[in-house]
Symmetry: C2
Subunit: 451 residues, 2 copies
């Protein structure tokens, strides 16, 4: 059982429901939509991510003999027979990765026989929710630190292996420069960055020897960690070492600070490096950073060229989950609606249309019914998989990243300016079409007669 791709990566209720659907032959077409109910405090928009992993999951979804044997001890033969033949044969419409979106806008729609659409629910949410969460978090650092090198350092405190890998992917997609996670570099072709740990320095008899050994072993990537004992003293050692390394044709690319008052140390170190002739050596900072600390450091003009952002990024520290839902909107041709207190949804198959000002800035979105509800904005949901097969060729992660970053420039300015990007801006208008509102009312009226 492969933990990344197993169809058992589902909740038990999916299996109990499927057992009933099959017994009643409820296999007509269902339409489910995935959306996020609201923005966390202080957030202005979200960045769609994770579609690539969802499509991989759906295209390759099948039950292994081992999984079927395990299920056979718990469920009846008709369900096991159904799983033996199981392949996902439905359609997926989705916003392309990197699309900026807002609450109550469906970012993905599944159209498939009811048991199929139901079985995939939990893993689909699990993938889209997490990558969207991290891309949306990463966007904030990208906006407050324009032109800076931003590196994902968070794998060790990410929630498991997949979280570490997908956080690297999602943050790169949102505009980060790269990651420290080697496997993410190998799997997704993301630029890798790394220096050395304090243990490297500590294992050596003295700091100078540690620096020198590292430089010889990694001549094209000499970034030296200088805060293990005394930051400014170590910066002076770097200056002293430089001529010796230059004689061996090795250049010191930069230094890393990881503790203490980063702004103060950066100013001192910058001066030491400049006076020592190392004007081109960069200063890279890490250590419990997040977008708020970046904003503070940069607004104080701290001479820092790049940042490693770890835990706060990979766990989305201020909002470690979004209020996200995957809801049935239509079954057997009829609209459906959840009406539970505080959790009501808009019924029917929907499209999201985006409108721009004449200057090209996003002005508002309209959520409308897909059919018989014409709207002349730019539709954001696209068909990406039909009858179980991808209909678009894969876009490189690098191209998605460029598209995401270009998208930021069309957001209202208050949402993207480094000084205000972390504050709540006036809500972006998302309008529910009249036809959709009418459908919801009509549905509720019909429900009342049936209760």
């Amino acid at each position: 059982m492969n933990p990344f791709s197993s169809p058992l990566l589902a909740d038990l209720y999916q299996f109990t429901m499927l057992q009933s659907y099959l017994e009643q032959d409820m296999q007509e077409t269902a339409v489910f939509e995935l959306f996020i109910r609201k923005l966390p405090p202080g957030r202005n928009f979200m960045v769609a991510a994770g579609l690539e992993q969802v499509l991989d999951f759906l295209e390759n979804l099948k039950f292994s003999p081992e999984e079927l044997a395990w299920l056979a001890t718990r469920f009846r033969p008709p369900l096991i027979d159904y799983f033996e033949q199981f392949r996902f044969s439905g359609d997926v419409h989705a916003m392309p990765e990197g699309t900026l979106f807002f609450p109550n806008e469906p970012i993905l729609r599944i159209t498939a026989p009811l048991p199929q659409a139901q079985l995939i629910e939990s893993r689909l949410i699990n993938l889209l929710h997490f990558e969207t969460l991290i891309a949306s978090k990463a966007a904030r650092s990208v906006l407050v630190a324009p032109g800076k090198l931003l590196v994902d350092f968070g794998m060790r405190r990410a929630h498991g292996a997949e979280a570490g890998l997908l956080a690297a992917r999602a943050s790169y997609l949102a505009g980060f420069s790269g990651t420290a996670t080697v496997l993410a570099g190998a799997l997704y072709d993301i630029p890798l960055f790394g220096t050395m740990a304090h243990s490297y320095i500590q294992a050596h008899a003295d700091e100078m020897t540690a620096f020198e050994h590292f430089a010889h072993a990694n001549a094209d990537n000499v970034v030296l960690l200088i805060d293990t004992y005394d930051t400014e003293a170590a910066a002076s050692k770097v200056v002293a070492l430089a001529p010796k390394l230059q004689a061996a044709h090795i250049n010191i690319k930069g230094v890393r600070l990881d503790s203490g008052d980063l702004a103060a140390h950066a100013r001192n170190v910058r001066q030491i490096l400049d006076q020592g002739g190392l004007q081109s050596a960069t200063i890279f900072a890490s250590g419990n950073l997040d977008e708020y600390r970046l904003q503070t450091l940069l607004s104080s003009q701290a001479p820092i060229d790049g940042f490693g952002i770890g835990t706060a990024l990979d766990i989305s520290s201020d909002a470690p989950a979004f209020d996200c839902a995957y809801k049935l909107q239509e079954y057997a041709g009829k609209p459906r609606r959840k009406r539970s207190e505080g959790k009501a949804t808009w019924p029917g198959r929907k499209q999201v249309y985006r409108f721009y000002t004449t200057q090209g800035e996003m002005s508002h979105d309209v959520v409308a019914l897909e059919e018989n509800d014409p709207c002349d904005g730019r539709p954001l949901l696209e068909p990406v998989l039909l009858a179980g097969q991808r209909i678009q060729s894969k876009i490189s992660l690098h191209d998605i990243r460029q598209r995401t970053v270009a998208g930021y420039s069309r957001l209202p300015k208050a949402m993207t300016a480094p000084a205000t990007a972390l504050d709540a801006a006036p809500s972006y208008p998302v309008i529910i079409s009249t036809a959709l509102q009418d459908l919801a009312k009509q549905f509720d009226a019909e429900m009342m007669t049936r209760l």
Copy 2:
């Protein structure tokens, strides 16, 4: 490249450091210890978890031909040659899973040739940190809801597949009753629980038919979701349906509430069920629950028998990361110490000793040097893997769970009573031995002479 077990699940700096270690032949024995620096606000203790996954990782760690080929494009031949032969040959000492522990106590120690101990750093933290995080979070619900059925519902909003699976494991280890995640049940033999989604009800023409179909398809697990349209009306339908099902020898086990004022609905529903002769049907609640809401619901005497806890558990909502570190404490027989501002560590190989009152309650711990620092408390770190091989037979997850729960009863009462378990109690005393303090002073004095 298997994302769960690949040695590339590491930070780039591990590879750049190893390149230098090998060039300098720095392969003497290193001792690293893993500990958590401080408790999050309002927390009193932590629950060690994840050791089983760490030992699996270490025992099976090797480089595949594909991984070697990828590395060969980036690193020099001596490093690739080293990786071809790579197996973890070191020792692991650790607190058994389920041990209750406190800040600055090492919960795991690695003793291995320096490059080995360094390479495994990130994945080792990634596993131990996450499971410990979730077990420590789950313990809080277990303590405030004694005797209640507690089920992990969080996989969909967990951070990726592994987070969902390990959250199920860690919460069961800490005393939960089970999980909804089918694959976790299959992989770790955890009891599975599940009912139905709102979409199941919505897909049917009416609620009563949905209930009846579900009961026939899942006769031994009839728990009906009653909040899709009108909770109390649905409870009456359950009462009306019961005799018909009983005639078919099907008993209604319970109902689930998922929205609205859970305490008020539970009282109404309990009355409807009791008056309808369904006194033995249980009420299960879910919907944005965490330990605080459990405490409030139960202190208001809401008649709820079980809880599904999802997002808040799987992301450890109040503390989605611990401040955890893996630090070099000794190399080549000499103690080492990190002295960075605010991040200093205690040098040397250490043991944690636990002391109890005559009534069997935990009284204090002592962190001492492993050698020449005698202490008569109960040592918590045990050898678990020597020269790369496990030396203990695997303990079942069920047995670990029983041990964890038994451990709660030895904590100071304020930390475990349902009314106070979520409040900060007086800090549990963790004493640093005099010999260890002396060693740190001696180390610092020596460092000063070398700076």
